[in-house]
Symmetry: C2
Subunit: 188 residues, 2 copies
Amino acid sequence: MERTNRTKFAVLGILSMGPHSGYDVKKFCEEVLAYFWHESYGQIYPLLHTLESEGLIRKSRPTDTTKDRRVAYVVTAAGKKDLAAWLERPFSEQAPRNELLLKVFFSNLAGPNVAIRQIDDYRAAQKMLQKVLKEAQANIEKELDQNPDAIYWQLTVDLGLRLSNARLAWCREAIQKLQRAATRKSNS
Amino acid sequence: MERTNRTKFAVLGILSMGPHSGYDVKKFCEEVLAYFWHESYGQIYPLLHTLESEGLIRKSRPTDTTKDRRVAYVVTAAGKKDLAAWLERPFSEQAPRNELLLKVFFSNLAGPNVAIRQIDDYRAAQKMLQKVLKEAQANIEKELDQNPDAIYWQLTVDLGLRLSNARLAWCREAIQKLQRAATRKSNS
DNA sequence: TTACGCATGTAAGAGGTTACATGATTTT
DNA sequence: AAAATCATGTAACCTCTTACATGCGTAA
């Protein structure tokens, strides 16, 4: 099984939307893709050099432009071709590592109150995520008519919202169920 | 930020449920935890030796027992204490890497039909997952009265089902939306 | 001018997968 | 007897994070 370098296509994709420096790429991940993707500087900067040497990206602004220290890159024709080919290939799932569920699974060792606290933290995190996603949804909606990218962005946000709704509903019911179990236990 | 060795507590947790060999631990991950956790042999076997040398686990059967080649381990008192302390600590979220959504996000480069195919593959995978989870749900339900662990297992399966339901609903609507967009495009 | 944020980067090393090796036991 | 499966393990290698270094521009 070949190992796919996932960072490569995230970066190519971001650069295909306009010139970005390494710093910009990181920002884009944090501000736009955060709920389904992330990258670190240690991945981004070396990769930018590699991709440039492979001819998949190139510097967009001549280095002599005054004032701006940023080195922004754009994808070349070869890069665009590579990116398009990747879009066609089947996706691979991330190996799952849900630490909350791992704790819940073994929570009989600690009892319901510990589990309740963990799930409540999860609920709080999902609540915050949901707020962010709703704002993103509203912003994208405005662009739907003019921007042909927007429908795809909308889809990703929509899945994010559905998942966080599902998690919130689960949290509420799970906490109730555990509270009932806790009182039953203390009454017996 | 310290890096938490997540494998450690998965293994301690599994061993806390009874004697398991390295092979058993892997099996347990694949057959029981699969939808939210995974481990590879390359992680499991070396870790078992480490944990034994740290006194957190010990061999359960004396090596002289005939017939059975398996070396099964159980957690010691120290291991149980470590595990309990971990259950109380706040969980940390897995850094997100959803390759399907990454492809969808950039899918304007390839057009709706490519996206539709990808999402349909996702739908098929979720459908299969859902079937497995429903079986697990039925099995756990039978144990609920006798087994104090079962309520926690049920919670994890329940979240798995809710998430896969949300994903399936999204797939259906996303495909419809993209099909409409595809026909609009070809008619213009 | 000191301090802080911007921006680019690297080194060290943790974490993790894959592919292979080995031998025993069971099945065909 | 051959093939498949059980079971334990390791070596090589990749991926990725973290922490730090560096220097520039700008605000206090």
